[in-house]
Amino acid sequence: MVRLLLLAVVAVLAIAAPFYFYSVTLMTVMCFVIFACSFNLLLGYTGLLCFGHAMFFGGGAYITGQILKATPISTELAILGGGAAAGLLGLVIGYLTMRRQGIQFAMITLAFSQFIYFIFLQAPFTGGEDGMQAIPRNDLFGFVDITSNSTLYYVVLAITALCVFVYYRVVHSPYGEVLKAVRDNQPRVESLGFDPEKIKLVAFIISASMAGVAGGMKAVVYQFATLTDASWPISGEVILMTLLGGLGTLVGPVFGAAGIILLNDYLAGFGEWALVSQGVILLVVIVFFRRGIVGELSALVRYLRRRNRTEAPAAQPAAATSGH
């Protein structure tokens, strides 16, 4: 009941938000919410640290952009195309990368993303250093005009809601449970007759496609796609967002993405400080609160509830703390 109420409040806030905030910033936040969710699915629920997730994000952006530029295909299909292409890339890279376990996975995915970056740099259709310019916003479903940002906002909102729902369903499905089991004890899962490699590969593909959708959506919002989207600092940023929000928490990525995008926005005028502050935040999160914002908050709530339950029969004043 509380959940539904909360969901309704969030929905109202999200629908009303563009009247109070700059819609492009909000849409950027939503793109990164999807991106961070996709990353969380890997690191938080599968235990795989992919240090090259930007290749899927950037790949999705370029493919979506190219589809929109070259064909009259409607925007939502183009974004889907970007996601599918990123998923395909994920299949190939995941297949090769799963051969190494543990922490090496991070190094290999980083190297792969650099490889993809150089390919995008030289490929004829990406526009190289200049990026892909003037991506049109083709009509939604072939007849809804989305050239204005205020209309597009609701499209982006709908796609984000859909993606978060899919992410929620994956995490809470039986498959999601197996995923968490692989993270916690792979040999055990193997002994139960599952194939952990395959399970992880599927997670990698889902995650890559989601990242591709996020990138494709960003290309539609900004109407350009650049090499920055595929560069490794973006991979670092999504790690930061996920950790800041809370690893392996459902809504953590939302807070993390919003926080970092707003911070970047705020620090844009201060040059190098964006980099330094990202480093400092990451360091603080790693050293002091590894559960992230949402993780620490829910731990606090659990702690208070437990204290309430044990103290309630003895003393009445404990009820006062439950409000916190």
């Binding site: 090496q104 290999i108 650099q114 150089f118 790690i239 330094v276 480093g279 790693i286």
Partner: protein, 293 residues
């Protein structure tokens, strides 16, 4: 055989490849040593390489200390800063999932690079060549400094290898890599060894930075892009293998140089292509003697 390609170009690129290979070898050796003992993927490695070059530049421009003293001083300073980092940051994270060590060093790299960029801008700073001139070999011109870099890095790599394979200290190191608890039971201070090892690996990065300063310009981003290539090198060689890392480093430097001659478009990706092939054919790495960890 290769008509249309001048020997000048060919040998020039071979030399350049060897030079790049020297840096790959020294950096990946340091990474492999640190990973071997501590299971930490040292993401700060590129920043520490950059710091080595920057310290040399600062020593020259503010204190008038030239290249040769810097070749000792800068790596030592980088090593000391690394040991402080290990004690303050990596030690507390030891018991946790390895990814925290990786992310912590990544965060430090961001901070260091950001601060240097803030203070000195992102354009490269020149560092004078301490050994101007060169000899004409007939088929190519060989600058003395480049020869020095190749020879010096070879000596460093062989020296490091001898240290690890043929001294008592190296034996402890290899043993602690396999079974830290047992080594500790023999009365060896493993945590202290970790600090020293990290300092040594990072010192190698600092040394490479000083070596690189007169060749490439000294710039805040000189480390980060190089580091990704070095990661690929380490992956190809096999994470645990220190010798493998060095050999792979030279080999891939050469391959990259030759690619620049025969198919320049692929030069920036050839190392990554090698990584893909090696992942497919030898998942554990070319020089790995055991299954991937």
């Amino acid at each position: 055989m290769f008509e249309g390609i001048s020997t000048q170009l060919l040998f020039g690129q071979v030399l350049l490849g060897l030079i790049n290979g020297s840096f790959y070898a020294m950096l990946s050796m340091g990474l492999a040593i640190i990973f071997g003992l501590m299971s930490v993927v040292n993401f700060t490695h590129g920043a520490q390489y950059m710091l080595g070059a920057f310290i040399a530049w600062l020593l020259l421009n503010y204190l008038g200390i030239g290249y040769w003293p810097s070749l000792v001083l800068a790596p030592v300073l980088v090593a000391i800063s690394g040991m402080v980092l290990e004690r303050l940051l990596l030690r507390p994270l030891q018991g946790l999932d390895h990814l925290y060590g990786l992310l912590a060093t990544y965060a430090v790299a961001l901070i260091v690079e950001g601060l240097v960029r803030y203070k000195y801008g992102s354009t490269g700073l020149p560092y004078d060549n301490p050994m101007p001139g060169g000899i004409n070999l007939g088929f190519m011109f060989l600058p003395y400094y480049r020869l020095w870099v190749v020879v010096f890095s070879l000596v460093t790599c062989v020296g490091t290898w001898l240290l690890i394979e043929h001294t008592k200290l190296g034996a402890y190191l290899r043993a602690a890599n396999e079974k830290p608890q047992i080594v500790e039971a023999f009365g060896i201070n493993v945590p202290k060894m970790m600090t020293l090892t990290y300092g040594f690996g990072v010192g190698l990065a600092g040394l490479s930075g000083v070596l690189a300063a007169p060749i490439y310009q000294v710039s805040p981003s000189m480390g980060s892009s190089l580091m990704i290539v070095v990661f690929a090198v380490v992956v190809i060689g096999g994470m645990g293998s220190i010798v493998g890392a060095a050999i792979t480093g030279y080999m891939l430097g050469l391959v990259e140089g030759l690619t620049k001659v025969f198919y320049p478009e692929a030069a920036s990706v050839v190392i990554f292509m090698f990584m893909i092939i090696s992942l497919y054919l030898r998942p554990a790495g070319i020089f790995a003697d055991k299954e991937s960890v």
